[in-house]
């Protein structure tokens, strides 16, 4: 109501002022809508400024590197959540892709072959999840929970109870390359590229548009002629491919494939999305938010380490952070509705 009055006032004055006022209004509205994220950003900023050794190029780039594996998963998770589902099987899929890639190396494939094998394994798991959710109609939670267990079991069988060591086929990604004064690691670069490509895909292509419409209101999208079940399957396949890619990044770093590799990653990736303002109800949010949420998580971790706090506090602090964030988000949502 007040906004409408503001605008009609502006009509009398000069056009310049009207535009300025409109801009201020838009910014205010944006800040109000995203105020939990804004709050978090400033909190993180304050923490970083008050922490020694934080604000150095090396440290920043190392945060990016450490965030890369989780970041790629969060991008995939974000696609699924935007399409109205979510994926609990990401960590297990990452584990399977590691095992498959490791086995492929054992069979004598080169790194390109191992890369393809990892992505293929991830894509297959995603496709199965997607077909179950979209065509069979099982609930996303139950479906991906069961595939979490099934995929873990398959990983165990693939590895035959052993651990694969010295998986060096992706070691090239571990090396940094110089961008002028800034040093960027291979993993960080892959993370940034994945985020950017996913953003372009969701923002600028017809599939992305349909995917977000499916999550926003599946029935409305279907009646408007969107193939919603295909979009759901597509979202899970993207998540599976991202898990495969994350497995490649993981192997470039750890170089070991075990049966429990990647356990628990799925929850961190959902947390990244939530912190990044992706609505679990579907349709709302952006991969940029999810990537930022992931970086935020890793920043907090880094600060805890740099301040010399015990590593045990990490989980406690992150958990509280998510709760505080979700509470303030719910609060701002309520205000928006009653306005």
């Amino acid at each position: 109501m007040a906004e409408v009055l503001d605008e009609s006032d502006g009509e009398d004055s000069s056009q310049e002022r009207t535009r300025l006022r409109g801009f201020v209004l838009q910014v205010t509205r944006f800040l109000l809508r995203h105020w939990p994220q804004v709050l978090l950003f400033f909190a993180a900023l304050w923490l970083t400024l008050t922490t020694d050794r934080f604000w150095t190029g090396g440290n920043l780039s190392s945060i990016l590197t450490r965030a890369a594996i989780l970041g790629v998963l969060a991008v995939g998770q974000c696609c699924v959540i935007l399409a109205g589902g979510f994926d609990l099987s990401q960590g297990a899929t990452l584990g399977l892709a590691c095992a498959v890639a490791g086995t492929a190396m054992g069979q004598g494939y080169d790194s390109a072959g191992c890369f393809a094998a990892a992505l293929f394994a991830g894509g297959i798991v995603g496709a199965v999840n997607g077909v179950c959710v979209a065509r069979v109609g099982t609930n996303p939670f139950v479906t991906t929970l069961s595939s979490l267990m099934v995929v873990r079991g398959i990983t165990f069988l693939v590895l035959g109870g052993m651990t694969l060591n010295r998986l060096t086929m992706f070691a090239a990604l571990d090396r940094p390359f110089d961008l002028g004064s800034l040093e960027l690691s291979g993993r960080g670069f892959v993370f940034l590229m994945t985020t950017f490509l996913a953003w372009v895909f969701l923002r600028q292509t017809i599939w992305g548009q349909h995917l977000r419409a499916t999550g926003g209101n599946a029935e409305a999208a279907r009646l408007a002629g969107v193939r919603t079940d295909r979009m759901k399957i597509l979202s899970y396949v993207i998540s599976g491919l991202c898990s495969g890619l994350a497995a490649v990044l993981f192997l470039s770093f750890i170089k070991v494939a075990k049966a429990d590799t990647g356990a628990g990653y799925e929850l961190d990736s959902i947390a990244s999305c939530v912190i990044g303002g992706v609505s679990l109800a579907g349709g709302e949010g952006s991969v940029l938010g999810a990537a930022a949420g992931c970086l935020m998580l890793k920043t907090i971790e880094t600060i805890i380490t740099l301040r010399g706090l015990d590593d045990q506090y990490r989980s406690l602090v992150t958990g509280l952070l998510i709760l505080v964030f979700a509470a303030s988000d719910a609060w701002s949502r309520k205000r928006r509705r009653s306005r």
Binding site: Q204, I206, Q209, A213, A224, G225, V226
Partner: protein
């Protein structure tokens, strides 16, 4: 604009699990005509609409467009055939912008790369065609008012070259001025050669707007007449099948129905939208409350029923201070309410019909923490008999009942708490004529028994039928209270919109006949 279309339905039939919903219906729909489809709940209107929308396939019969047979095997096929349906529950993606919604499913792209600039230009163009420039294309759809959402959906349909526009209960959740705007829009579209098929329970609206009226009853086509050949009485008679039980005119109030004892006193009540409301409700009266959506009548009803708190002021119930914090407290004081939105705020779908009926009585059938189901079931069966609720089984999902029966369930549930004051929100929205009459009679009986019934309704005919007094709300205040003899459609409309005080633009030119 487009060629004038002729859609022919030839012998359409459909049955669900042995129950026939549509029996051999043949019909012609022409471009340049507004065609109204009337009938009670369960007459087959929705089935017919769903067949044309491509979401239900007929068992037999053909559909022809300009003489050529078309197959509608999905929403996409219907859109391709130029048939667009505006459902009662509007189908927009709330998180996406108006422009994105208009272009949804028909995006402009090259190698699947979106051309956002030309998409939003087309969306603006589509809105301008409907003279709806006031809707900003960049705003998320969820921030629009219901009437605006409807226009966005119509804009989407027209962009996709719709030749037949089907509207299912288009005015059910619109305010009066929004409904008038929609009526004007539909007339303009008709004049451009579009075929419009509307399903509506509002007979006045149908008679005001339609060029041709078709009536269905029990899945059969009763008849199809040009507007000039049918009037209100005939329409009602053909819909119901007989004259029994139809009383549109209010009956004369019996003098001294009950003791004129004050039941509820409201003093200077204020809340989120309402301000300085003063009222006295008397035993034995039916008190109507009306106004534009958000004018305050809904909030006052919620406050009385304990659903939301009052910010200021106080209420006295039978002389004692009454300040309910929760609906349960209101019930203990003898106040019961029936919400307007049956599906969302009324019935609990996973619980069966019986449990829904007795939700508020469970405490009484409680023995040491266990429910006595025999007794509960017996009670539920008795309530169903008493309120003439038609059902198959007591554990039937309550949403499978017809709209009228759902409403009866809610009413029966509220009355089962034996209240002194009953608040009904839009008690006959989306309810067929027979049930409507039954509910109106029940309201009269309650008043005659010395209760007080508050009816919140935008429907002037309903208020005229049942209310002894009507409070008209405008911008959070009670502007006037009309006594029985002044409750009349024209007066109500004028008071609701404030046309008496200040003639402003389109409000001033309102015609009394349309609602």
């Amino acid at each position: 604009m487009t060629e004038v279309v002729r859609i022919e339905l030839d012998g359409l039939g459909k049955s669900y699990f042995g129950a026939t919903a549509l029996r051999n219906v043949s019909l012609e729909i022409f471009g340049g005509e507004i065609h109204a489809l009337c009938g009670e709940n369960g007459a087959g209107k929705s089935t017919l609409v769903e067949i044309l929308a491509g979401t239900v396939r007929p068992d037999h019969g053909r559909i022809l467009a300009n003489g050529e047979e078309i197959t509608l095997d999905g929403p996409v096929a219907a859109l391709r055939a130029g048939i667009a349906v505006i459902h009662q529950e509007l189908q927009l993606v709330g998180s996406m912008s108006v422009a994105e919604n208009i272009m949804l499913g028909d995006e402009i792209s090259r190698f699947s790369w979106l051309n956002r600039r030309s998409m939003s230009a087309r969306a603006v163009e589509a809105l301008r065609l409907l003279q709806a420039d006031a809707i900003a294309p960049g705003v998320p759809a969820r921030e629009l008012a219901t009437g605006q959402r409807q226009i966005v959906e119509i804009a989407r349909s027209l962009r996709r070259k719709a030749r037949l526009l089907i509207l299912d209960e288009p005015t059910a959740s619109l305010t009066r001025s929004e409904a008038r705007l929609l009526a004007d829009l539909l007339r303009r579209l008709r004049d451009r050669g579009l075929a419009v098929l509307m399903v509506s329970h509002h007979l006045d609206e149908v008679l005001d707007l339609a060029d041709r009226i078709t009536v269905l009853r029990d899945g059969r086509l009763v008849g199809s007449w040009p507007r000039a050949h049918i009037d209100h009485d005939k329409l009602v008679r053909t819909m119901v099948g007989s004259d029994v039980g139809i009383r549109e005119k209010a009956t004369v109030p019996e003098e001294g129905k009950a003791t004129r004892e004050t039941l509820l006193t409201i003093e200077d009540l204020g809340g989120e939208t309402i301000r300085e409301v003063r009222l006295e409700l008397v035993r034995g009266e039916v008190f109507g409350m009306t106004g534009l959506a958000g004018a305050g009548q809904e909030e006052l009803a919620r406050i009385i029923a304990g659903e939301s708190p009052a910010a200021r002021g106080r209420m006295l119930l039978m002389g004692k201070s009454y300040r309910p914090k929760h609906p349960v407290q209101a019930q203990r004081h003898g106040v019961a309410a029936v919400p307007a939105d049956r599906r969302v705020r009324g019935l609990i779908a996973p619980l069966g019909l019986g449990s829904n009926l007795l939700l508020q009585r469970l405490r009484r059938a409680n023995r040491c923490g266990f429910l006595r189901w025999n007794r509960l079931n017996e009670e539920a069966r008795q309530l169903c008999r008493e309120h003439r609720i038609k059902y198959d089984r007591l554990d039937q999902n309550s949403l499978t009942l017809s709209g009228g029966n759902q409403q009866k369930v809610l009413l029966a549930r509220a009355l089962a708490t034996e209240p002194e004051l009953i608040v009904l929100n839009e008690p006959t929205r989306g309810v067929d004529i027979g049930t409507r009459e039954a509910i109106h009679r029940r309201i009269e009986e309650l008043a005659a028994a010395g209760k007080c019934v508050v009816v919140v309704s935008p429907d002037a005919l309903e208020l005229r039928r049942v209310a002894d007094r009507v409070a008209v709300f405008r911008k959070g205040r009670i502007r006037t209270i009309l006594e029985r003899d002044r409750i009349e459609e024209r007066t109500l409309l004028a008071e609701i919109t404030g046309a008496n005080e200040r003639t402003s633009g389109n409000e001033g030119s309102s015609r009394g006949g349309s609602s």
